[in-house]
């Protein structure tokens, strides 16, 4: 998986590319924990180029949500492919994450 980062005001967009799975979950957690340490706790995770997610990948998003929540921040998710959205629904995690169609809407909401 590739993670790229873009800062807009006090918010950060993380764009994921590839597979967010058991082998890449830690990478995302480390990235978000580094950002949180620097005070960046308002995040948009753009999954427009993420073609696969498994339960470990979802777990890493839950973990990221916790680490920024604890500091008063929040996470928005956007641009899910249908196949990836289906896994959020299978696990009911679409009820926890606020999910947007595109990164603009996600950015505005946070």
């Amino acid at each position: 998986m590739e993670i790229s980062e873009q800062k807009i005001d006090n918010k950060t967009i993380l764009s994921l590319k590839g597979r967010l799975d058991a082998s890449s979950a830690k990478e995302l957690k480390d990235k978000v924990s580094d950002l949180a340490k620097e005070g960046n706790t308002f995040l948009v995770v753009d999954m427009g180029h993420a073609d696969f997610i498994d339960s470990s990948g979802l777990g890493s998003l839950v973990s990221c949500l916790r680490s920024v929540s604890r500091l008063g921040g929040d996470i928005r998710i956007c641009s899910l492919k249908d196949s990836v959205r289906a896994v959020f629904e299978l696990t009911r995690l679409h009820l926890i994450f606020e999910i947007f169609d595109n990164s603009d809407d996600a950015l505005k909401s946070i």
Binding site: R19, D21, A22, S23, F52, D54, S55, S56, L58, G59, S60, V62, S63, L65, R66, S69, R70, D82, S83, A86, V87, L90, T91, R92, L93, L95, I96
Partner: protein, 141 residues
């Protein structure tokens, strides 16, 4: 009956190879792309479990996946030779539930793999024979 066996080393970095392969093989089933994706997901979850739990993330062991399809049923076996699971776990497990309005901090990070498999597949079983552990998933065509 069509049958093919796929083997990787117990390394999480190689699991995507199995995922891709299973997804492609699913194209010979009558399932839609989105169902094929869910079957790929189940196999990835099972292989991850073999590597993480049965082999405790130790490399150098084999995980063997057998994909077989007859006219009515798709069967996928995932086999490892690591620590066995208590088959009771499979029976009792269900998707972690939570109150959507509760504090984010209370949402569990893990424990969704087997529940996903049970939800997507029609039947799942687990057995250990002669030091080999078999998780077997069935799905009607």
């Amino acid at each position: 009956m069509k049958k093919i066996k796929i083997i990787i080393d117990s390394d999480l970095k190689d699991v995507f190879l199995i995922g891709m392969t299973i997804n492609r093989l699913c194209s010979i089933t009558p399932f839609s792309d989105s169902e094929c994706y869910k079957i790929e997901l189940c196999v990835v979850e099972a292989v991850n479990n073999s590597i993480i739990h049965a082999y405790q993330n130790e490399k150098g062991h084999e995980v063997e996946v057998t994909f077989s399809m007859d006219t009515r049923i798709l069967t996928v076996d995932v086999c490892d030779t690591g620590r066995s699971m208590d088959p009771e776990i499979l029976q009792s497990i269900h998707m972690p539930s939570f109150d959507p309005d509760s504090n984010d901090l209370e949402i569990p990070e893990r424990g969704r793999g087997l529940a996903i498999i049970k939800e997507v597949m029609d039947h799942v079983s687990y057995k250990t024979i002669d030091g080999k552990n078999w998780l077997t998933m069935f799905r009607e065509l």
